[in-house]
Symmetry: D2
Subunit: 337 residues, 4 copies
């Protein structure tokens, strides 16, 4: 298996899905060792850096990539297995940004109310304890929380000639902002253009479901991933597989439409795996679905439909590629989960 290391310089980052030239061409399966800048472009470094003065709103959520995947053609399935996510800094940051987030009015749904005050929270990352530390601004409340590194953004170039900012989640993946995108997870994405043009970024040291205020504990991340390709079989919406769960991520607005998209995708998947007709799969899903919200803050909202594999008969999704990549990752010698 090839092994490619790529650490982007500031001018090598991408801010869109589609529309950016590939930084590296890889032949799947390839192990990638990557570094990703945080969603602020590294511009928030202390509690004094508030969004309106520190951020460049044209250059948010930089992506590492895109990677050209040799042999990838529209309709194929790109496979991205996250082997390891390790915080690349000793701190992360979360900011209350005016007119951004789930509990404020936003430009696409404006009100006449004033914005919320700005605040930037710095979370020290304790690598020994594997925690991030919350400190209140309005009181002396402090709390250490377990780190749970994840990637907010994983995606490919969209179809129909489109170029979308890295802030948007949609059928091509993108900024889904689900904590399920963690080490050990395998993400399946439909290829829309030759070469797939895959990229990732938006490291979170920890995030709750929904990403309420709009920003997680954002931080630069060291990423190890295996990228593979299954010919054909590209799913309509992103799918994620872990050792324990099958997941589908729908994105859209209003939130129930994101949920519907993820549900129908899972019904399709259960049909593929178990030969269930669509009504039987609908019925079964009714009784076993987990439905954690991913984000209610981005231009599209994202909702995860999640099924515990342990409730179901054993089945090998996409030819068992998740297990293969898990085994390959263990063979590196450094993976302990």
């Amino acid at each position: 298996m090839d092994h490619v290391t790529f650490i982007p310089t500031a001018d090598q980052m991408a801010y869109t899905f589609g529309g950016a030239a590939p930084v590296v061409r890889i032949t799947p399966p390839t192990v990638l060792t990557l570094w990703t800048e945080d969603a602020y472009g590294g511009r928030i470094t202390s509690a004094a850096d508030v969004a309106t003065t520190a951020l460049d709103t044209e250059d948010l959520n930089p992506q590492t990539g895109p990677f050209w995947i040799e042999g990838a053609e529209p309709g194929d399935t790109l496979v991205v297995h996250l082997v390891d996510l390790t915080p690349a800094r000793t701190w992360g940051a979360s900011t209350l940004i005016p007119f951004f987030g789930g509990l404020t009015s936003v430009p696409v749904s404006p009100t006449l109310q004033d914005p919320l005050p700005e605040r930037t929270y710095i979370y020290e990352y304790d690598s020994a304890a594997d925690t991030v530390a919350f400190s209140a601004h309005g009181s002396d409340f402090e709390l250490a929380l377990p780190a749970n590194p994840m990637l907010g953004t994983v995606g490919v170039a969209p179809a129909r000639r489109e170029v979308r900012t890295s802030l948007v989640p949609d059928v091509f993946g993108g900024n889904m902002d689900t904590p399920e995108m963690r080490a050990g997870a395998t993400c399946y994405l439909r290829v829309n253009v030759p070469g797939a043009l895959f990229s990732l970024g938006d490291g979170h040291y920890r995030q709750g479901e929904g990403e309420s205020c709009g920003t997680a504990v954002e931080g630069a991340m060291n990423v190890t991933a295996i990228v593979g390709l299954v010919k054909g079989g590209g799913p309509a919406w992103p799918r994620i597989e872990s050792d324990t769960h099958l997941m589908c991520v729908g994105s859209g607005r209003p939130l129930e439409e994101a949920w519907r998209a993820g549900q129908v995708e899972m019904i399709t998947w259960l049909g593929e795996l178990y030969g269930l007709d669509r009504l039987d799969a609908y019925q079964l899903l009714t009784q076993i679905s987990l439905a954690p919200i991913a984000n209610v803050v981005d231009t599209n909202y994202s909702s995860v439909t999640k099924v515990d594999k342990r409730l179901l008969p054993a089945a090998a999704a996409f030819g068992g590629v998740h297990q293969e990549m898990r085994s390959a990752a263990r063979a590196f010698g450094t993976i302990t989960y």
Copy 2:
């Protein structure tokens, strides 16, 4: 503590929150031993009973109650601790009902498409194994699933003179359809009218998050609950506490509004428990919220905001009444969780 047993006859059931005369007056805290009919009014008994011919659409989701709570006044907090939920039949039923459910058009959002076909699924309940059995209609796929008894509907009379059908979830509780409403959970509801007029029903032997097709594994249920009263402090939206989690349930449409309501309620709760200002609570919730969807099928949708108590400093919500009721329940001698 008083102990009241009430098994309603067919003509004693309530179909509304508000508007029904109380069946029993109790002095809190009181232990209630109850039986609840299923949401179909017991009219679905085999796979041959499909919704359009078997159901009485005017008499759906019968409630056991309402109970008049002595001393309960508007603004108080009704406390309902679920001690035990045990299936009262050897089978449950789930039905695909035309123009009802999450993946079909519905009367309040109609399309011109034909309805989905009707199907009724009977799930045998194996009390020894504590499982319910799914059998596909379109193939020979069968699967035993762990039972997870819960109540779809817990509520009080609404404010502003309203009477609402038992099919609706709202600020008064009602048909929230969340699997979190299981044995061991304590539900807090704001009292809106003198006596509170509390009722419950809609037993589910198992349900996934979202209740995709609109009906869980519906079944009659034996219910043991302790009902208490905290003067004042009535929450804006229903709250639930378990040994491990704090939860707030928002209901509304579109789904993001239900989520927002639950989020703001949790921010209020975190403020009460830890003295956090609202922006600090917003920030903290961003990193620790769990957000399982409850239902996307009822007239209002419901979304749960859920926080793991083990991440937080110890705190006694509502004066520690959950722990008191847990202890009291254990003292009955039959509670093993």
Copy 3:
């Protein structure tokens, strides 16, 4: 034709659809001469009366009625023809109410932002010029606007034993807040309970489509109406007919669901009038529909689907009752439109 005059005293007003005892029994067709209090219950009388101090939030939007309609049974069509609406005061009032309106966060979809400032606008009504006068608070801008008297609220008791506040629009009519409910219009409502229990109120001297801030130029109103009954044929959603237009009013959330409900109702109506199948009616409506929004501020939003009768062949809806009532109204001798 009977003629009944009813001027409610303060304790005779209704605040709900359903749940209130009838004030008068009438035999259709009957001419009603009525007076309606404004939606504030008459508590706003000057610019110094702001909502949070002046209003009684439990007693908003008082209705005149309900009227028991002899012979009305579930499934019938109640016919309400508005003969005349005349402002009953020399001024109306519109208020910016905290956390109420279309361009602020609201309790059912909360944010953490502060409320907008309160302001009360008094509009002098010039009966000679038939205008209402806007005066800005922040500058000396003044503007006389044509009066356009209408009723925000017309409805009957709901089905399924429900009692709903007069603030809500739904299938039973209620607080639809559309400027189409003006003199010369005939409203058709499905009867849900014996006697129909019809009431009306919420006079507006003028309102834009959407009722942006949540309150029109609210004022007490003198109302002349003819109430009739057509056996059977009750529409799924409220319909309105004028000399020039057919209209259907859907209500719900999100707003597209209100629009869908009104559209499908119109497709049904076009099918009834012209024998069109549903796909042909859908196609025709696509090219002729007008779609003025009614309100985006109430608990449900309302959307009007409106068709110009002059584009269509002549047809007599509901047996031509609109024309009959128009003729009867002209025969009173006072109607000049």
Copy 4:
């Protein structure tokens, strides 16, 4: 004033806003004489051409353009005055397309229901009578409707490096599908990239508000427009001015968000024209807003906020450019409205 004529060949059409090379560079103000292909790319020519077999889903809604506007820089205001729209064919076509339209489930909000049947309606255009003829499929109902030529799509390149399909309406204009985009209207769009990269297309010989089934009476169009530039002042959302009305077009999902965007844009505009503070403008708009829905079928929905200029004091928007262009158009000698 320059006068440029451009009739695109099949390979000169654009399918995106942004991402396409300019076809012509013009110096504002310039009169453009253009031809636009229909949204089907001319592939529907008879009732036998149904969407699933006749259409190329990758090449829908071809645009004429983009035009590079000399001197246009981000933040400027592009001015597009529609002088004349004349049907370029003797017939138009409207199609029921599976899983597309306002009264069917759609891929972004899927259900498990079957699609509606396909139907293609050909409308003969009678240029003498200026009508289009509807013929039912399921009966012999026929109806001549007044033609009302308009453009569904007018837009510029988006910001943030994005490229969007011509099927989407958003802040950059695009596929708003409002009947207000007719001859005599002036559209104001914020310039996002150097040269603006403006294009237009999607001729409709007639369309109802909402574009219910997703396709109007689609047809190739001869277009005369004047394109101008106002330095600075670019609006947040598209604005339209006619001799009688001011309009703002918001787009988004759910529909109330589109409405909110248009409302706040109009509040800003009223403030600019009359010096009203935002609360006064909100209040005034509440009483004078018209709110015709534009489309409930595209990826974003569009809603128009519309104000009758005759209710307001005279004011010259954008320096009076609308009147200037109207005068210039009359000077051509062929404009009679």
